[in-house]
């Protein structure tokens, strides 16, 4: 009996028993497991050999590809184009610097207890757009100008997603506040704005922004195509953002509003100092998720002729000197997006868990 009082009986869960429990517990599980295992085995082998074994990694031109597997040479040869678009080569350090700043601002956010994490985050939200505004188009400080038509590739994708999210945040906040306002007309206007933007597909918004906007504006008032795409994306996104933030506002207990009022804080101070800081913190995961979906949706600018990363790949896979590289190109883009989105979504999930426990304490 002594052993029983200390430790549980060692149920030796060997691999056999584990499989019996987790793979072959009932007859239909046996069938399912076998079918799935067969499918995996038959498909994974060829995939691996296409991706790695038969693939060509080294070389500089189409002749270096055997054709048996993937032609990664194509990617490495055109990588500059995929990342920078037409951004002039000798100026690409500016973009690299922005990538670096982006990494400096946000990679520490994944590392708990990184000193100054919050400040770096703040820099990412406030400082980074300013730095980008100076660095990327050039102009001041003797930086040569690079027109927005030359931007492209991954860099353009990131710019669109980043500006889209940063700019839609304040508009989203205003809309959310408006939607919870006690003034029926303000509330109604906000509801209509939000619902209309959420109902229409992004590509119609982009189409309007890219070719029709000047028709609505007085003559002479004109922005660049990129700026107009950004306006479209931002307004569209702010409607989604408003709904996310509204969720946060609703979660703040009434007592907080009352306590702030009792201290004599007016509407804007009450919101700005007491309610919004709490509400925004609560919906960070929601904001991150919105960001991910926006990030994926930026690919649609391809349809209005901006060359984002998918656009650059699309435009090069038809290059006659490289044959049959479409799949490689798409896989490359898919991989880029996947790494970003999966990484960020994992981050948001961990945040969600953390905020969850924080709530209960």
């Amino acid at each position: 009996m002594t052993d029983l009082s200390v430790m549980p009986p060692k149920k030796a869960i060997g691999p056999i028993q584990w499989m019996k429990r987790n793979l072959f517990s009932t007859w239909y599980n046996v069938v399912l497991t076998l079918v799935v295992a067969y499918l995996i085995v038959t498909s994974v082998g060829p995939l691996i050999s296409w991706f790695f074994v038969d693939a060509n990694f080294m070389g500089s031109d189409p002749k270096d590809c055997s054709g048996a597997g993937a032609c990664w040479v194509f990617i490495s040869q055109r990588l500059d184009f995929f990342i920078y678009g037409f951004y002039p080569g000798e100026q690409q350090w500016r973009v690299d610097l922005m990538f670096l700043l982006l990494a400096v601002a946000f990679v520490p956010q994944f590392i708990e207890r990184f000193p100054g994490r919050k400040w770096l985050g703040l820099f990412g939200v406030v400082g980074l757009p300013v730095a980008g505004y100076i660095l990327i188009p050039g102009g001041p400080f003797g930086l040569s100008e690079v027109e927005s038509t030359k931007w492209g590739g991954l860099m353009l994708t990131l710019i669109l997603a980043y500006i889209g999210i940063i700019a839609s945040l304040p508009i989203g906040i205003l809309l959310a506040l408006g939607r919870r306002s006690e003034m029926p007309i303000i509330r109604g206007l906000c509801v209509v704005f939000i619902e209309v933007w959420r109902a229409v597909p992004l590509i119609t918004v982009l189409f309007m922004a890219s070719v029709m906007l000047p028709l609505f504006l007085p003559e002479g008032l004109n922005f660049e195509k990129l700026a107009r795409a950004l306006i479209g994306i931002t307004l569209w996104q702010s409607a989604y953002m408003a709904e996310v933030i509204r969720g946060g506002l609703q979660a703040i207990p009434r007592g907080q509003y009352e306590a702030a009022s009792a201290l004599g804080l007016g509407y804007w101070r009450k919101m700005g100092l007491v309610v919004l800081p709490q509400a925004l913190k609560l919906v960070i995961p929601g904001i991150v998720n919105t960001f991910i979906s926006l990030f994926k949706d930026t690919t649609l600018v391809l349809i209005i002729g901006l060359l984002d990363i998918l656009g650059t790949v699309q435009s090069t896979v038809t290059d006659p000197s490289w044959q049959n590289v479409a799949v490689e190109g798409y896989v490359f883009v898919a991989f880029c997006f996947w790494v970003f989105c999966f990484g960020i979504s994992r981050y948001s999930q961990s945040l969600e868990r953390k905020l969850d426990t924080g709530h209960k304490s």
């Binding site: 007592g255 009352e258 306590a259 009792a262 004599g264 804080l265 709490q278 913190k281």
Partner: protein, 242 residues
Amino acid sequence: MIRIEGVHKWYGGFHVLKNLNLTVRQGEKIVICGPSGSGKSTFIRCINRLEEHQHGSIIVDDIELTDDVRQIDSVRRDVGMVFQHFNLFPHLTVLENCCLAPVWVKKIPRKEAESTAMEYLERVRIPDQANKYPGQLSGGQQQRVAIARALCMKPKIMLFDEPTSALDPEMIAEVLDVMIELAGSGMTMLCVTHEMGFAKTVADRVIFMDAGEIVEQAPPQEFFSNPKEPRAQKFLQQILQH
């Protein structure tokens, strides 16, 4: 200090407050009690206009509470309030909670506001918790912070809405001690509470409300030992049974 005349209030068709009349002199301490739902909270919240009354007049420190936002603001500056559920701001430290209103509403320099805040935190005996967040404090400590936060605005009047009813028994004493001390310093106080010990110690008057009316007003000794109204008698019996 406070003059309340013929105040009525409705929630939709429901008549919560019925013809309330009350005058509170400076430095007076008043305890309000009554059965649940009798309108005590609503009444006390009308005094700093968290609720709007629909008839009658409430005059606080010579300012009448009307729709005028400036008047409401200046009344709120003079009236501190402590809630049942503390309602501290969880995203700010204790010290920041205390400084928020002085800095933003009274425009006092941050340094100065902080030193005042520390003073009041000492007075409620938790100066060492100043840099913690509310979530890290016990209920009793949180309620004391809430009192300090209200005091930091140097109000002329303090309103308490069942400040101890959400607390565990051990913590009730901590908070009551602070309140008794505060009463000793001559602050005008209106307090909704069922703590008879507190009422007997500090109250100048006990007001008993039922169904939205002030049923009885009397000094605490008289009220507790010899209530006149049958409703008050019944209520006291229930409380004593408990």
